[in-house]
Assembly symmetry: C2
Homo-oligomer: 322 residues x 2
Amino acid sequence: MENMTDKLLKKIDETRCPCVVGLDPRIEQIPSFLKEHKKHDPNQKRAVAEIFLEFNQLIIDQIKDVVPAVKPQIAFYEQYGHYGLKAFEDTVKYAQENGLIVIGDAKRNDIGSTAQGYAKAFLGKVKGANDQEIKGIDVDYLTVTPYLGSDGVKPFIDVCKQYHKGIFCLVKTSNPSSGELQDKNIEKENKTIYELVAEYVAQSGSDLIGVKGYSSIGAVVGATYPEQAKKLRKLMPKTMFLVPGYGAQGGGAADVVPCFNEDGYGAIVNSSRGIIFAYKQDKYKNTFKENHFHFAARQAAVEMQKDIYEALKNAGKLPKGW
Amino acid sequence: MENMTDKLLKKIDETRCPCVVGLDPRIEQIPSFLKEHKKHDPNQKRAVAEIFLEFNQLIIDQIKDVVPAVKPQIAFYEQYGHYGLKAFEDTVKYAQENGLIVIGDAKRNDIGSTAQGYAKAFLGKVKGANDQEIKGIDVDYLTVTPYLGSDGVKPFIDVCKQYHKGIFCLVKTSNPSSGELQDKNIEKENKTIYELVAEYVAQSGSDLIGVKGYSSIGAVVGATYPEQAKKLRKLMPKTMFLVPGYGAQGGGAADVVPCFNEDGYGAIVNSSRGIIFAYKQDKYKNTFKENHFHFAARQAAVEMQKDIYEALKNAGKLPKGW
Protein backbone atom coordinates (compact mmCIF):
# COMPACT_ATOMS: atom_id res chain seq x y z
CA MET A 1 0.00 0.00 0.00
CA GLU A 2 1.09 3.56 -0.62
CA ASN A 3 2.57 5.11 2.50
CA MET A 4 3.74 8.59 3.48
CA THR A 5 7.24 7.84 2.22
CA ASP A 6 5.85 7.07 -1.25
CA LYS A 7 4.40 10.57 -1.27
CA LEU A 8 7.72 11.99 -0.16
CA LEU A 9 9.65 10.02 -2.80
CA LYS A 10 7.25 11.18 -5.49
CA LYS A 11 7.96 14.79 -4.51
CA ILE A 12 11.70 14.03 -4.44
CA ASP A 13 11.47 12.66 -7.98
CA GLU A 14 9.51 15.69 -9.16
CA THR A 15 12.07 18.13 -7.75
CA ARG A 16 15.13 15.89 -8.15
CA CYS A 17 15.95 17.23 -4.75
CA PRO A 18 16.29 14.97 -1.69
CA CYS A 19 16.40 17.99 0.60
CA VAL A 20 14.27 19.58 3.27
CA VAL A 21 14.30 23.18 4.43
CA GLY A 22 14.26 23.68 8.18
CA LEU A 23 11.90 26.48 9.15
CA ASP A 24 13.59 27.58 12.38
CA PRO A 25 12.82 31.28 12.69
CA ARG A 26 14.83 33.39 15.11
CA ILE A 27 13.54 36.89 15.71
CA GLU A 28 17.05 38.38 15.85
CA GLN A 29 17.82 37.18 12.32
CA ILE A 30 14.56 38.08 10.63
CA PRO A 31 14.82 41.08 8.29
CA SER A 32 13.92 44.41 9.89
CA PHE A 33 11.24 45.29 7.36
CA LEU A 34 9.13 42.38 8.67
CA LYS A 35 9.54 43.50 12.29
CA GLU A 36 9.41 47.27 12.17
CA HIS A 37 5.63 47.70 12.23
CA LYS A 38 5.28 45.26 15.14
CA LYS A 39 7.69 46.94 17.52
CA HIS A 40 4.98 48.81 19.35
CA ASP A 41 2.52 45.95 19.58
CA PRO A 42 1.71 45.60 23.30
CA ASN A 43 1.54 41.80 22.89
CA GLN A 44 5.05 40.92 21.77
CA LYS A 45 4.51 37.15 21.86
CA ARG A 46 1.67 37.46 19.39
CA ALA A 47 3.66 39.99 17.37
CA VAL A 48 6.63 37.66 16.95
CA ALA A 49 4.37 34.71 16.13
CA GLU A 50 2.74 36.74 13.36
CA ILE A 51 6.15 37.76 12.04
CA PHE A 52 7.28 34.12 12.02
CA LEU A 53 4.26 33.11 9.97
CA GLU A 54 4.77 35.88 7.44
CA PHE A 55 8.48 35.06 7.20
CA ASN A 56 7.72 31.36 6.66
CA GLN A 57 5.06 32.06 4.06
CA LEU A 58 7.43 34.21 2.02
CA ILE A 59 10.05 31.44 2.18
CA ILE A 60 7.54 28.71 1.32
CA ASP A 61 6.30 30.66 -1.71
CA GLN A 62 9.86 30.72 -3.04
CA ILE A 63 10.99 27.18 -2.29
CA LYS A 64 7.84 25.16 -2.89
CA ASP A 65 8.88 24.13 -6.39
CA VAL A 66 12.53 23.59 -5.44
CA VAL A 67 12.31 21.22 -2.46
CA PRO A 68 9.84 18.46 -1.57
CA ALA A 69 9.51 19.20 2.15
CA VAL A 70 9.92 21.58 5.04
CA LYS A 71 10.81 20.85 8.64
CA PRO A 72 9.62 23.42 11.17
CA GLN A 73 11.46 22.98 14.49
CA ILE A 74 8.85 23.51 17.17
CA ALA A 75 11.24 24.84 19.85
CA PHE A 76 11.44 28.19 18.10
CA TYR A 77 7.67 28.50 18.08
CA GLU A 78 7.13 27.30 21.66
CA GLN A 79 9.25 30.22 22.80
CA TYR A 80 6.22 32.37 22.09
CA GLY A 81 3.75 30.12 23.90
CA HIS A 82 0.36 29.43 22.38
CA TYR A 83 0.78 32.31 19.94
CA GLY A 84 3.91 30.58 18.69
CA LEU A 85 2.16 27.24 18.44
CA LYS A 86 -0.55 28.87 16.35
CA ALA A 87 2.16 30.15 13.98
CA PHE A 88 3.55 26.59 13.86
CA GLU A 89 0.12 25.15 13.04
CA ASP A 90 -0.53 27.82 10.42
CA THR A 91 2.91 27.19 8.89
CA VAL A 92 2.18 23.45 8.67
CA LYS A 93 -1.12 24.15 6.96
CA TYR A 94 0.31 26.72 4.56
CA ALA A 95 3.16 24.40 3.55
CA GLN A 96 0.77 21.50 2.95
CA GLU A 97 -1.60 23.69 0.94
CA ASN A 98 1.40 24.56 -1.19
CA GLY A 99 2.13 20.92 -1.86
CA LEU A 100 5.01 20.45 0.57
CA ILE A 101 5.47 17.48 2.88
CA VAL A 102 5.84 18.65 6.48
CA ILE A 103 8.20 17.03 8.97
CA GLY A 104 7.33 18.30 12.44
CA ASP A 105 10.63 18.40 14.28
CA ALA A 106 9.52 18.03 17.87
CA LYS A 107 11.56 15.05 19.14
CA ARG A 108 8.64 13.95 21.29
CA ASN A 109 9.01 11.07 23.70
CA ASP A 110 7.14 9.56 26.60
CA ILE A 111 5.59 6.27 27.65
CA GLY A 112 2.33 4.43 27.04
CA SER A 113 -0.74 6.60 27.00
CA THR A 114 1.28 9.82 27.10
CA ALA A 115 3.27 8.86 24.01
CA GLN A 116 -0.05 8.02 22.42
CA GLY A 117 -1.18 11.52 23.41
CA TYR A 118 1.74 13.10 21.57
CA ALA A 119 1.22 10.83 18.58
CA LYS A 120 -2.44 11.81 18.29
CA ALA A 121 -1.57 15.46 18.87
CA PHE A 122 0.78 15.60 15.89
CA LEU A 123 -0.23 12.77 13.58
CA GLY A 124 -3.71 11.58 14.46
CA LYS A 125 -7.08 12.61 15.73
CA VAL A 126 -8.23 13.60 19.18
CA LYS A 127 -11.61 13.55 20.87
CA GLY A 128 -13.75 16.63 21.31
CA ALA A 129 -16.10 17.29 24.24
CA ASN A 130 -18.87 15.99 21.98
CA ASP A 131 -16.98 12.71 21.55
CA GLN A 132 -16.31 13.40 17.87
CA GLU A 133 -12.83 13.19 16.43
CA ILE A 134 -10.85 16.26 15.36
CA LYS A 135 -7.56 16.38 13.51
CA GLY A 136 -4.54 17.25 15.63
CA ILE A 137 -1.68 19.47 14.43
CA ASP A 138 -1.53 17.07 11.48
CA VAL A 139 2.06 17.12 10.30
CA ASP A 140 3.06 14.40 7.81
CA TYR A 141 6.07 13.14 9.75
CA LEU A 142 7.17 13.68 13.34
CA THR A 143 10.62 13.24 14.87
CA VAL A 144 10.67 10.96 17.94
CA THR A 145 13.33 10.28 20.60
CA PRO A 146 13.84 6.64 21.69
CA TYR A 147 15.48 6.98 25.13
CA LEU A 148 12.51 5.41 26.95
CA GLY A 149 12.63 2.17 24.97
CA SER A 150 10.24 0.56 22.54
CA ASP A 151 7.10 1.31 24.49
CA GLY A 152 7.97 4.97 24.06
CA VAL A 153 8.11 4.59 20.26
CA LYS A 154 5.45 1.99 19.55
CA PRO A 155 2.49 4.32 20.22
CA PHE A 156 3.84 6.61 17.48
CA ILE A 157 4.18 3.68 15.08
CA ASP A 158 0.63 2.57 15.84
CA VAL A 159 -0.70 6.03 15.05
CA CYS A 160 1.36 6.08 11.81
CA LYS A 161 -0.36 2.84 10.79
CA GLN A 162 -3.79 4.14 11.58
CA TYR A 163 -3.46 7.53 9.91
CA HIS A 164 -0.90 6.76 7.17
CA LYS A 165 1.69 9.10 8.61
CA GLY A 166 5.41 8.71 9.25
CA ILE A 167 8.04 9.27 11.93
CA PHE A 168 11.79 9.73 12.02
CA CYS A 169 13.24 8.16 15.14
CA LEU A 170 16.54 9.58 16.44
CA VAL A 171 19.23 6.98 15.85
CA LYS A 172 22.53 8.84 15.49
CA THR A 173 22.38 12.59 15.96
CA SER A 174 24.66 15.17 14.37
CA ASN A 175 25.91 17.00 17.48
CA PRO A 176 29.46 16.75 18.89
CA SER A 177 28.41 14.88 22.06
CA SER A 178 26.04 12.48 20.31
CA GLY A 179 28.49 9.66 20.94
CA GLU A 180 28.40 9.98 24.72
CA LEU A 181 25.40 7.67 24.89
CA GLN A 182 24.67 6.62 21.33
CA ASP A 183 28.13 5.27 20.51
CA LYS A 184 28.57 3.22 23.68
CA ASN A 185 29.34 -0.39 22.94
CA ILE A 186 26.97 -2.77 24.61
CA GLU A 187 28.69 -5.48 26.60
CA LYS A 188 28.65 -8.90 24.94
CA GLU A 189 26.33 -7.72 22.15
CA ASN A 190 28.97 -6.44 19.76
CA LYS A 191 26.90 -3.39 18.91
CA THR A 192 26.41 0.19 19.99
CA ILE A 193 23.32 1.84 21.41
CA TYR A 194 22.64 3.56 18.09
CA GLU A 195 22.89 0.23 16.27
CA LEU A 196 20.45 -1.29 18.74
CA VAL A 197 18.02 1.56 18.06
CA ALA A 198 18.62 1.14 14.31
CA GLU A 199 17.68 -2.52 14.51
CA TYR A 200 14.54 -1.66 16.38
CA VAL A 201 13.59 1.03 13.85
CA ALA A 202 14.21 -1.30 10.87
CA GLN A 203 12.32 -4.15 12.46
CA SER A 204 9.34 -2.14 13.65
CA GLY A 205 9.06 -0.39 10.29
CA SER A 206 9.16 -3.62 8.32
CA ASP A 207 5.40 -4.00 8.01
CA LEU A 208 4.97 -0.40 6.89
CA ILE A 209 6.94 -0.60 3.64
CA GLY A 210 5.44 1.38 0.76
CA VAL A 211 5.20 0.56 -2.94
CA LYS A 212 8.59 2.15 -3.60
CA GLY A 213 10.25 -0.08 -1.02
CA TYR A 214 10.72 2.34 1.86
CA SER A 215 9.08 2.31 5.27
CA SER A 216 7.15 5.20 6.78
CA ILE A 217 9.18 4.62 9.96
CA GLY A 218 12.37 6.58 9.31
CA ALA A 219 15.56 7.40 11.19
CA VAL A 220 17.49 10.56 12.02
CA VAL A 221 21.13 10.01 11.04
CA GLY A 222 23.49 12.99 11.27
CA ALA A 223 25.58 14.08 8.29
CA THR A 224 28.53 14.70 10.58
CA TYR A 225 29.34 11.00 11.08
CA PRO A 226 29.59 9.55 7.54
CA GLU A 227 31.37 6.34 8.63
CA GLN A 228 28.58 5.50 11.00
CA ALA A 229 26.00 6.47 8.40
CA LYS A 230 27.50 3.86 6.12
CA LYS A 231 26.99 1.15 8.73
CA LEU A 232 23.49 2.35 9.45
CA ARG A 233 22.58 2.36 5.76
CA LYS A 234 23.28 -1.39 5.74
CA LEU A 235 21.46 -2.05 8.99
CA MET A 236 18.35 -0.22 7.78
CA PRO A 237 18.10 -0.74 4.00
CA LYS A 238 14.40 0.12 3.77
CA THR A 239 14.50 3.02 6.18
CA MET A 240 14.33 6.64 5.05
CA PHE A 241 17.02 8.77 6.72
CA LEU A 242 16.40 12.35 7.77
CA VAL A 243 19.89 13.85 7.71
CA PRO A 244 20.68 16.94 9.78
CA GLY A 245 24.11 18.51 9.98
CA TYR A 246 24.60 19.60 6.36
CA GLY A 247 25.74 23.20 5.93
CA ALA A 248 25.79 25.30 9.09
CA GLN A 249 26.71 22.26 11.24
CA GLY A 250 29.69 21.39 9.07
CA GLY A 251 28.59 18.42 6.97
CA GLY A 252 29.29 18.64 3.22
CA ALA A 253 27.57 16.97 0.26
CA ALA A 254 30.14 14.14 0.23
CA ASP A 255 29.36 13.44 3.88
CA VAL A 256 25.69 12.84 3.18
CA VAL A 257 26.24 10.43 0.26
CA PRO A 258 26.66 7.36 2.55
CA CYS A 259 23.13 8.03 3.84
CA PHE A 260 21.76 7.17 0.39
CA ASN A 261 21.21 3.68 -0.96
CA GLU A 262 22.69 2.56 -4.26
CA ASP A 263 19.32 3.35 -5.91
CA GLY A 264 19.87 7.02 -5.04
CA TYR A 265 17.02 7.15 -2.58
CA GLY A 266 16.75 6.60 1.12
CA ALA A 267 17.71 9.98 2.52
CA ILE A 268 16.48 13.52 2.79
CA VAL A 269 19.03 16.13 3.81
CA ASN A 270 18.09 19.09 5.98
CA SER A 271 19.39 22.62 5.93
CA SER A 272 17.84 25.31 8.11
CA ARG A 273 19.88 28.46 8.74
CA GLY A 274 21.86 27.90 5.54
CA ILE A 275 18.66 28.43 3.54
CA ILE A 276 16.28 30.64 5.47
CA PHE A 277 18.94 33.10 6.61
CA ALA A 278 21.03 32.83 3.42
CA TYR A 279 20.63 36.58 2.93
CA LYS A 280 23.02 37.12 5.84
CA GLN A 281 25.83 35.10 4.30
CA ASP A 282 28.73 36.81 2.54
CA LYS A 283 27.96 34.65 -0.46
CA TYR A 284 24.52 36.15 -0.99
CA LYS A 285 24.45 39.50 0.73
CA ASN A 286 25.83 41.48 -2.18
CA THR A 287 23.30 39.97 -4.57
CA PHE A 288 20.22 40.06 -2.38
CA LYS A 289 18.99 42.97 -0.34
CA GLU A 290 17.49 42.25 3.07
CA ASN A 291 13.96 42.64 1.77
CA HIS A 292 14.76 40.03 -0.86
CA PHE A 293 15.75 37.48 1.81
CA HIS A 294 13.25 34.99 0.39
CA PHE A 295 14.86 35.13 -3.04
CA ALA A 296 18.21 34.47 -1.35
CA ALA A 297 16.58 31.47 0.34
CA ARG A 298 15.39 30.21 -3.03
CA GLN A 299 18.85 30.63 -4.49
CA ALA A 300 20.44 28.78 -1.56
CA ALA A 301 17.90 25.95 -1.94
CA VAL A 302 18.65 25.70 -5.66
CA GLU A 303 22.37 25.53 -4.90
CA MET A 304 21.85 22.89 -2.24
CA GLN A 305 19.87 20.82 -4.74
CA LYS A 306 22.73 21.12 -7.20
CA ASP A 307 25.32 20.28 -4.56
CA ILE A 308 23.58 17.08 -3.45
CA TYR A 309 22.68 16.13 -7.04
CA GLU A 310 26.32 16.42 -8.12
CA ALA A 311 27.55 14.46 -5.12
CA LEU A 312 25.10 11.64 -5.87
CA LYS A 313 26.10 11.70 -9.53
CA ASN A 314 29.80 11.54 -8.65
CA ALA A 315 29.12 8.59 -6.39
CA GLY A 316 27.16 6.81 -9.11
CA LYS A 317 24.04 7.00 -6.99
CA LEU A 318 21.76 9.14 -9.13
CA PRO A 319 18.22 7.71 -9.24
CA LYS A 320 17.04 6.32 -12.58
CA GLY A 321 15.55 8.92 -14.87
CA TRP A 322 17.09 11.96 -13.10
CA MET B 1 22.58 30.42 47.34
CA GLU B 2 18.94 29.46 47.50
CA ASN B 3 17.89 27.47 44.45
CA MET B 4 14.59 26.15 43.08
CA THR B 5 15.00 22.92 45.04
CA ASP B 6 15.21 24.90 48.28
CA LYS B 7 11.81 26.35 47.45
CA LEU B 8 10.48 22.89 46.69
CA LEU B 9 11.91 21.44 49.93
CA LYS B 10 10.39 24.26 51.93
CA LYS B 11 6.98 23.43 50.46
CA ILE B 12 7.61 19.74 51.18
CA ASP B 13 8.34 20.56 54.81
CA GLU B 14 5.23 22.71 55.09
CA THR B 15 2.98 19.96 53.72
CA ARG B 16 5.03 17.00 55.04
CA CYS B 17 4.27 15.61 51.63
CA PRO B 18 7.01 14.74 49.13
CA CYS B 19 4.42 14.24 46.40
CA VAL B 20 3.37 15.88 43.16
CA VAL B 21 0.03 15.64 41.42
CA GLY B 22 0.19 15.02 37.69
CA LEU B 23 -2.32 17.18 35.84
CA ASP B 24 -2.92 14.95 32.82
CA PRO B 25 -6.48 15.68 31.73
CA ARG B 26 -8.21 13.27 29.35
CA ILE B 27 -11.51 14.45 27.94
CA GLU B 28 -13.07 10.98 28.17
CA GLN B 29 -12.52 10.85 31.91
CA ILE B 30 -13.59 14.35 32.83
CA PRO B 31 -16.96 14.52 34.63
CA SER B 32 -19.93 15.14 32.33
CA PHE B 33 -21.14 18.22 34.17
CA LEU B 34 -17.97 20.05 33.04
CA LYS B 35 -18.47 19.01 29.41
CA GLU B 36 -22.22 19.18 28.86
CA HIS B 37 -22.49 22.89 28.06
CA LYS B 38 -19.56 22.71 25.60
CA LYS B 39 -20.90 19.92 23.42
CA HIS B 40 -22.34 22.29 20.86
CA ASP B 41 -19.39 24.65 20.71
CA PRO B 42 -18.37 24.79 17.03
CA ASN B 43 -14.68 25.02 18.05
CA GLN B 44 -14.14 21.76 19.89
CA LYS B 45 -10.40 22.26 20.38
CA ARG B 46 -11.02 25.49 22.22
CA ALA B 47 -13.94 23.90 24.07
CA VAL B 48 -11.82 21.04 25.41
CA ALA B 49 -8.98 23.41 26.34
CA GLU B 50 -11.39 25.50 28.39
CA ILE B 51 -12.76 22.38 30.07
CA PHE B 52 -9.20 21.26 30.93
CA LEU B 53 -8.44 24.59 32.56
CA GLU B 54 -11.63 24.54 34.63
CA PHE B 55 -10.99 20.93 35.64
CA ASN B 56 -7.42 21.76 36.68
CA GLN B 57 -8.47 24.84 38.62
CA LEU B 58 -11.01 22.88 40.62
CA ILE B 59 -8.35 20.25 41.41
CA ILE B 60 -5.73 22.87 42.30
CA ASP B 61 -8.12 24.62 44.68
CA GLN B 62 -8.52 21.35 46.57
CA ILE B 63 -4.95 20.10 46.66
CA LYS B 64 -2.96 23.30 47.04
CA ASP B 65 -2.58 22.89 50.81
CA VAL B 66 -2.00 19.11 50.60
CA VAL B 67 0.86 18.82 48.09
CA PRO B 68 3.81 21.09 47.27
CA ALA B 69 3.72 20.76 43.50
CA VAL B 70 1.85 19.84 40.35
CA LYS B 71 3.16 18.33 37.14
CA PRO B 72 1.12 19.06 34.03
CA GLN B 73 2.05 16.68 31.21
CA ILE B 74 2.07 18.79 28.06
CA ALA B 75 1.15 15.96 25.63
CA PHE B 76 -2.46 16.07 26.79
CA TYR B 77 -2.64 19.78 26.09
CA GLU B 78 -0.83 19.68 22.75
CA GLN B 79 -3.57 17.41 21.50
CA TYR B 80 -5.70 20.52 21.28
CA GLY B 81 -3.09 22.64 19.52
CA HIS B 82 -2.57 26.25 20.51
CA TYR B 83 -5.84 26.26 22.45
CA GLY B 84 -4.45 23.39 24.48
CA LEU B 85 -1.14 25.15 25.03
CA LYS B 86 -3.02 28.19 26.31
CA ALA B 87 -4.78 25.94 28.84
CA PHE B 88 -1.34 24.59 29.81
CA GLU B 89 0.04 28.09 30.27
CA ASP B 90 -3.00 29.21 32.24
CA THR B 91 -2.76 26.09 34.42
CA VAL B 92 0.90 26.83 35.16
CA LYS B 93 0.02 30.38 36.13
CA TYR B 94 -2.95 29.40 38.26
CA ALA B 95 -0.94 26.77 40.13
CA GLN B 96 1.89 29.22 40.80
CA GLU B 97 -0.53 31.92 41.97
CA ASN B 98 -1.85 29.34 44.39
CA GLY B 99 1.59 28.73 45.81
CA LEU B 100 2.37 25.47 44.03
CA ILE B 101 5.67 24.60 42.39
CA VAL B 102 5.12 23.60 38.75
CA ILE B 103 7.06 20.83 37.04
CA GLY B 104 6.45 21.08 33.30
CA ASP B 105 6.56 17.50 32.07
CA ALA B 106 7.57 17.97 28.45
CA LYS B 107 10.67 15.73 28.10
CA ARG B 108 12.21 18.23 25.72
CA ASN B 109 15.44 17.44 23.94
CA ASP B 110 17.50 18.77 21.08
CA ILE B 111 20.97 20.12 20.40
CA GLY B 112 22.77 23.41 20.72
CA SER B 113 20.73 26.46 19.88
CA THR B 114 17.53 24.44 19.54
CA ALA B 115 17.89 23.02 23.05
CA GLN B 116 18.53 26.58 24.18
CA GLY B 117 15.30 27.51 22.39
CA TYR B 118 13.32 24.97 24.41
CA ALA B 119 15.07 26.01 27.62
CA LYS B 120 14.18 29.64 27.10
CA ALA B 121 10.65 28.70 26.03
CA PHE B 122 9.92 26.92 29.30
CA LEU B 123 12.36 28.31 31.87
CA GLY B 124 13.78 31.56 30.61
CA LYS B 125 13.11 34.68 28.65
CA VAL B 126 12.77 35.21 24.92
CA LYS B 127 13.22 38.24 22.72
CA GLY B 128 10.33 40.28 21.37
CA ALA B 129 10.25 42.08 18.01
CA ASN B 130 11.24 45.19 19.97
CA ASP B 131 14.34 43.40 21.29
CA GLN B 132 13.01 43.39 24.82
CA GLU B 133 12.85 40.21 26.87
CA ILE B 134 9.58 38.49 27.70
CA LYS B 135 9.02 35.55 30.04
CA GLY B 136 8.43 32.20 28.34
CA ILE B 137 5.94 29.61 29.62
CA ASP B 138 7.79 29.97 32.91
CA VAL B 139 7.43 26.65 34.68
CA ASP B 140 9.63 26.09 37.75
CA TYR B 141 11.11 22.78 36.59
CA LEU B 142 11.15 21.07 33.21
CA THR B 143 11.74 17.40 32.41
CA VAL B 144 14.51 16.81 29.85
CA THR B 145 15.54 13.71 27.84
CA PRO B 146 19.30 13.02 27.52
CA TYR B 147 19.51 10.80 24.40
CA LEU B 148 21.46 13.40 22.40
CA GLY B 149 24.31 13.62 24.91
CA SER B 150 25.56 16.41 27.14
CA ASP B 151 25.27 19.17 24.56
CA GLY B 152 21.55 18.38 24.50
CA VAL B 153 21.27 18.90 28.27
CA LYS B 154 23.79 21.65 28.97
CA PRO B 155 21.71 24.46 27.39
CA PHE B 156 18.94 23.61 29.87
CA ILE B 157 21.40 23.68 32.77
CA ASP B 158 22.74 27.04 31.63
CA VAL B 159 19.24 28.51 31.55
CA CYS B 160 18.58 27.03 35.02
CA LYS B 161 21.63 28.88 36.30
CA GLN B 162 20.62 32.13 34.72
CA TYR B 163 16.97 32.12 35.79
CA HIS B 164 17.18 30.07 39.02
CA LYS B 165 15.05 27.28 37.67
CA GLY B 166 15.42 23.50 37.74
CA ILE B 167 15.23 20.45 35.50
CA PHE B 168 14.66 16.75 35.98
CA CYS B 169 16.70 14.76 33.48
CA LEU B 170 15.41 11.30 32.56
CA VAL B 171 17.79 8.74 34.05
CA LYS B 172 15.79 5.56 34.65
CA THR B 173 12.17 5.64 33.52
CA SER B 174 9.29 3.66 34.99
CA ASN B 175 7.98 1.90 31.87
CA PRO B 176 8.34 -1.83 31.16
CA SER B 177 10.77 -1.36 28.23
CA SER B 178 12.92 1.28 29.94
CA GLY B 179 15.72 -1.26 30.25
CA GLU B 180 16.05 -1.83 26.51
CA LEU B 181 18.46 1.10 26.24
CA GLN B 182 18.89 2.43 29.73
CA ASP B 183 19.98 -0.84 31.37
CA LYS B 184 22.52 -1.83 28.73
CA ASN B 185 25.93 -2.46 30.22
CA ILE B 186 28.65 -0.42 28.60
CA GLU B 187 31.60 -2.48 27.46
CA LYS B 188 34.69 -2.14 29.66
CA GLU B 189 33.11 0.63 31.75
CA ASN B 190 31.34 -1.56 34.28
CA LYS B 191 28.27 0.64 34.22
CA THR B 192 24.94 0.94 32.46
CA ILE B 193 23.67 3.73 30.26
CA TYR B 194 21.42 4.99 33.07
CA GLU B 195 24.38 5.04 35.46
CA LEU B 196 26.38 7.02 32.91
CA VAL B 197 23.54 9.54 32.65
CA ALA B 198 23.28 9.60 36.45
CA GLU B 199 26.96 10.47 36.77
CA TYR B 200 26.54 13.26 34.25
CA VAL B 201 23.50 14.63 36.08
CA ALA B 202 25.24 14.53 39.46
CA GLN B 203 28.39 16.10 38.10
CA SER B 204 26.72 18.83 36.09
CA GLY B 205 24.43 19.72 38.98
CA SER B 206 27.26 19.94 41.48
CA ASP B 207 27.70 23.69 41.20
CA LEU B 208 23.98 24.33 41.59
CA ILE B 209 23.56 22.94 45.10
CA GLY B 210 21.16 24.93 47.27
CA VAL B 211 21.35 25.82 50.98
CA LYS B 212 19.55 22.59 51.94
CA GLY B 213 22.13 20.50 50.10
CA TYR B 214 20.23 19.56 46.95
CA SER B 215 20.89 20.58 43.37
CA SER B 216 18.38 22.22 41.06
CA ILE B 217 19.44 19.66 38.43
CA GLY B 218 17.30 16.64 39.27
CA ALA B 219 16.70 13.17 37.85
CA VAL B 220 13.67 11.13 36.82
CA VAL B 221 13.91 7.72 38.50
CA GLY B 222 10.95 5.37 38.17
CA ALA B 223 9.29 3.84 41.23
CA THR B 224 8.97 0.54 39.41
CA TYR B 225 12.67 -0.35 39.70
CA PRO B 226 13.49 0.01 43.44
CA GLU B 227 16.76 -1.95 43.25
CA GLN B 228 18.10 0.39 40.61
CA ALA B 229 16.78 3.40 42.51
CA LYS B 230 18.91 2.30 45.46
CA LYS B 231 22.05 2.34 43.32
CA LEU B 232 21.10 5.67 41.80
CA ARG B 233 20.48 7.21 45.22
CA LYS B 234 24.15 6.49 46.04
CA LEU B 235 25.42 7.73 42.68
CA MET B 236 23.50 11.01 42.97
CA PRO B 237 23.39 11.90 46.70
CA LYS B 238 22.62 15.58 46.13
CA THR B 239 20.17 15.10 43.29
CA MET B 240 16.43 15.46 43.73
CA PHE B 241 14.52 12.53 42.19
CA LEU B 242 11.20 12.96 40.44
CA VAL B 243 9.60 9.53 40.85
CA PRO B 244 6.89 8.42 38.43
CA GLY B 245 5.25 5.00 38.54
CA TYR B 246 3.56 5.14 41.95
CA GLY B 247 -0.11 4.14 41.94
CA ALA B 248 -1.63 3.51 38.53
CA GLN B 249 1.71 2.24 37.13
CA GLY B 250 2.10 -0.32 39.90
CA GLY B 251 4.70 1.13 42.26
CA GLY B 252 3.81 1.07 45.98
CA ALA B 253 5.00 3.28 48.84
CA ALA B 254 7.68 0.75 49.80
CA ASP B 255 9.04 0.89 46.25
CA VAL B 256 9.64 4.63 46.40
CA VAL B 257 11.48 4.59 49.74
CA PRO B 258 14.88 3.77 48.13
CA CYS B 259 14.57 7.03 46.17
CA PHE B 260 14.86 8.98 49.42
CA ASN B 261 18.08 9.72 51.25
CA GLU B 262 18.55 8.86 54.91
CA ASP B 263 17.59 12.46 55.80
CA GLY B 264 14.12 11.77 54.40
CA TYR B 265 14.53 14.16 51.50
CA GLY B 266 15.72 13.78 47.94
CA ALA B 267 12.60 12.59 46.16
CA ILE B 268 9.19 13.77 45.08
CA VAL B 269 6.71 11.08 44.07
CA ASN B 270 4.20 11.63 41.28
CA SER B 271 0.67 10.36 40.93
CA SER B 272 -1.56 11.51 38.08
CA ARG B 273 -4.62 9.40 37.26
CA GLY B 274 -4.66 8.03 40.81
CA ILE B 275 -5.43 11.52 42.11
CA ILE B 276 -7.20 13.54 39.45
CA PHE B 277 -9.53 10.72 38.37
CA ALA B 278 -9.88 9.23 41.87
CA TYR B 279 -13.65 9.72 41.62
CA LYS B 280 -13.77 6.85 39.12
CA GLN B 281 -12.11 4.36 41.46
CA ASP B 282 -14.21 1.81 43.37
CA LYS B 283 -12.58 3.09 46.52
CA TYR B 284 -14.02 6.56 46.16
CA LYS B 285 -17.03 6.36 43.90
CA ASN B 286 -19.52 5.52 46.62
CA THR B 287 -18.36 8.41 48.77
CA PHE B 288 -17.95 11.08 46.09
CA LYS B 289 -20.44 11.92 43.39
CA GLU B 290 -19.11 12.80 39.97
CA ASN B 291 -19.59 16.51 40.53
CA HIS B 292 -17.49 16.18 43.67
CA PHE B 293 -14.56 14.73 41.70
CA HIS B 294 -12.26 17.42 43.08
CA PHE B 295 -13.04 16.44 46.66
CA ALA B 296 -12.21 12.85 45.71
CA ALA B 297 -8.90 14.15 44.30
CA ARG B 298 -8.19 15.90 47.58
CA GLN B 299 -8.99 12.76 49.54
CA ALA B 300 -6.72 10.67 47.30
CA ALA B 301 -3.91 13.22 47.72
CA VAL B 302 -4.34 13.14 51.50
CA GLU B 303 -4.15 9.34 51.45
CA MET B 304 -1.08 9.39 49.23
CA GLN B 305 0.60 11.77 51.66
CA LYS B 306 -0.22 9.38 54.51
CA ASP B 307 0.98 6.36 52.54
CA ILE B 308 4.38 7.88 51.72
CA TYR B 309 4.73 9.39 55.21
CA GLU B 310 4.14 6.01 56.85
CA ALA B 311 6.54 4.27 54.48
CA LEU B 312 9.27 6.79 55.28
CA LYS B 313 8.53 6.45 59.00
CA ASN B 314 8.73 2.66 58.83
CA ALA B 315 12.06 2.92 57.02
CA GLY B 316 13.41 5.31 59.66
CA LYS B 317 13.66 8.03 57.01
CA LEU B 318 11.27 10.65 58.33
CA PRO B 319 12.78 14.15 58.06
CA LYS B 320 13.62 15.87 61.35
CA GLY B 321 10.71 17.78 62.83
CA TRP B 322 7.96 15.96 60.89
